[in-house]
């Protein structure tokens, strides 16, 4: 027996709709729980009987959530900017010049990607403490200012950039830095956007390093802020969900505005 193409397409769509629902459901549950009064938190109804903004009011009351959000934006933006700049310079050096040890440098950068955070966490912590970066935003940014991922993605993008165009710039008298800034970078908008988006999201979701480094709640970032509502006596689900919703808003916004670029960058980088 054969199935018609229509039936098959319908079945495929059904599966995809099911999978999408599975993916969206936790987000939906987070948002709707944030509108529930405490008495309703464990109800299985799909929508709160008496929706309320009480949880949001209390989050703002007990925690400097907007300050924390601002810290996080600052930290993620600075990390992204630093990673893109260092990535561009490193990739340019590797692509533009053939020098002894160039390939070794490239391999070492690739290899550094494989080093787990837990290995470098203690030395980084000691260093950050000695440098007086404990409990600061700078302390969150500096150890992540260069990333193998950014270097490698930009390296590949630059390798695909026509060599003749770079040579034409040389013939026109442009120096290396000028060539990078005026000729190469304007033509690498797509890969730079990809790297930026991925860097920003991963910095936003950073949990472990801020947990080690940050002491005061007003210096904290959102992922740490969320933990505030989880205690050994039990979790304050309504508050947690309201704070989590606030924490995911900026990222959701990025997804909405830059949906195409985000999807493309995930596909191209082949990760996650």
């Amino acid at each position: 027996m054969t199935t018609s193409p229509n039936t098959r397409r319908f079945a495929a769509h059904l599966v995809m709709i099911g999978l999408s629902a599975l993916a969206i459901f936790p987000v939906y549950w987070m948002v709707q729980t944030s509108f529930r009064p405490e008495s309703e938190v464990f109800s299985t109804a799909l929508w709160p009987a008496t929706p309320t903004l009480e949880n949001y009011r209390r989050v703002i009351e007990v925690m400097p959530i907007f300050g924390i959000l601002w810290n996080t934006v600052l930290m993620a933006a600075a990390t992204t900017a630093a990673q893109v700049v260092t990535g561009l310079l490193a990739a340019w050096a590797l692509v533009r010049w053939r020098f002894p040890g160039g390939r070794l440098a490239h391999s070492l950068i690739a290899l550094s990607w494989l080093v787990p955070f837990q290995v470098v966490m203690i030395p980084n912590y000691v260093l950050a403490t000695r440098l007086g970066l404990l409990d600061t935003i700078a302390g969150l940014v500096v150890p992540n200012a260069a990333a193998a991922f950014a270097v490698l993605v930009l390296y590949n993008a630059m390798r695909g950039f026509p060599r003749e165009v770079v040579e034409a710039a040389r013939m026109d008298g442009a120096g290396s830095l000028r060539t990078l800034i005026e000729v190469v970078i304007p033509n690498l908008r797509a890969p730079i956007a990809s790297v930026s988006i991925l860097c920003f999201i991963s910095a936003w979701n950073e949990y472990f390093w801020p947990l080690l480094l940050i002491r005061k709640i007003e210096n904290s970032v959102v992922q740490i802020g969320l933990q505030f509502f989880m205690s050994q006596e039990g979790n304050d689900w309504g508050l947690l969900m309201a704070a989590a919703t606030l924490a995911s808003l900026p990222i959701l916004l990025i997804y909405l505005v830059l949906q195409r670029q985000v999807v493309e960058s995930f596909m191209k980088s082949g990760i996650r």
Binding site: M171, D172, G173, A174, P186
Partner: protein, 372 residues
């Protein structure tokens, strides 16, 4: 304008020798074409003149000033690349004016010079477009404009026409020739297209395996190739080569018993193997009557190209192609071909060097045949 002096220049990549001891003088205002198959080192040589490639050994001088260690932009050269290499994010005007911007020329001055170049090249209406909105020919013109804007002493062309379709190629070829006549800028043009080479060059340089095989005027190189390689590389269809052996009296014997040119006597030892060669257009149809001057031709295939016929066949077991003008009838019966002795070339099998007969009467074989 400037002259270029290249003195025993070599280039190695690791262990590979790409350019092997080149000596070449390019006179002020000359148009030199470097011709050769891919991988012969012609582009590498050009890139060394430009400064895009380091020189392993030897010396390149522009106007007697050694430029080996000079940055590309300081050598007074401008280059037109094969893929045009336009800046994709800049408009035509910005592309042409970029070199001026880099050298710090004021905007107004820059715009003026860009406008002047654009009008010379017929690009005025395209100045605000991006390269992606241009046709191949227009891109080529922009690349030319970018090279011209700095009024360089030397133009370097790296196969600039190879990405264009046939018709456009002819048009751009004429345009480059016209520009050269107007500007008289010293030019070095690299190509593997022999028609481009023949039509553009004042001086034609044929390269092979990193060496110069022959340098001279196009007609000299075409009519008197100094090696088998040059003879074979120039001309379409290519030259025909007939293996021959020198006999006791210095004459070349083809196929064991044919001595079509008894008046050509070579100063070579008996038994030396050479190749006699002639251009397809040099052959004429002759009756198959056993006259010693004519070579029996076993016709296998005829191609009608409209302007001429190409006849493929065999002479003494060797594949040979000849061309006949369109008006000529192709004989229906077996026939022979005759070639004037002055149209014959001879090359040594070993090394492929040209060998000249030590004695040759000015008579053609036709006359010889008639006298006999």
């Amino acid at each position: 304008m400037a002259s270029i002096n290249i003195r025993s220049v070599s280039k190695t990549y690791g262990k590979t020798l790409a350019v092997n001891g080149i000596d070449l003088h390019v006179e002020d205002g000359a148009f030199v074409v470097i011709l050769g198959p891919s991988g012969c080192g012609k582009s590498t040589l050009l890139r060394m003149i430009a400064g895009l490639e380091d020189i392993t050994s030897g010396e390149i001088a522009v106007d007697e000033k050694v430029v080996n260690d000079l940055q590309p932009a300081k050598r007074g050269c401008a280059m037109v690349f094969q893929n045009y290499a336009l800046y994709p994010h800049m408009t035509v005007a910005q592309n042409i004016g970029y070199a001026l911007k880099v050298s710090g020329i004021a905007r107004r001055d820059r715009d003026e010079r860009v406008a002047r170049i654009a009008s010379t090249l017929g690009l005025t209406h395209l100045l605000d477009r991006k390269p992606s909105q241009l046709s191949g020919g227009q891109r080529q013109r922009v690349a030319m404009g970018r090279a011209m804007v700095r009024s360089p002493g030397i133009f370097l062309f790296d196969e600039p026409l190879s990405n264009l379709d046939a018709q456009l190629r002819i048009q751009m070829r004429l345009e480059i020739k016209r520009l050269h006549r107007e500007l008289r800028t010293t030019s070095v043009f690299v190509t593997h297209d022999q028609v481009e080479a023949m039509t553009l060059a004042d001086k034609l340089v044929v390269m092979n395996g990193g060496r110069i095989e022959q340098a001279g005027s196009p007609s000299e190189v075409f009519r008197k190739p100094q090696s088998r390689f040059v003879a074979n590389f120039l001309g379409s269809p290519p030259m025909n080569f007939l293996p021959a052996t020198i006999d006791g009296s210095g004459r070349a014997v083809i196929g064991g018993n044919l001595v079509p040119w008894p008046q050509l006597v070579f100063d070579l030892p008996r038994g030396t193997r050479i190749e006699l060669a002639f251009r397809p257009g040099s052959a004429v149809v002759a009756p198959l009557d056993g006259a010693s001057a004519a070579l029996p031709f076993a016709l296998e295939l005829t191609e009608d190209l409209g302007t001429e016929h190409h006849l493929h066949g065999k002479v003494a077991g060797t594949a040979v192609a000849i061309t006949l003008p369109a008006g000529k009838n192709i004989p229906a019966t077996p026939f022979a071909i005759a070639i004037a002795s002055e149209d014959m070339h001879a090359f040594q099998v070993e090394g492929g060097q040209r060998v000249a007969p030590s004695r040759a009467t000015p008579e053609t074989i036709m006359k010889h045949g008639a006298a006999a």
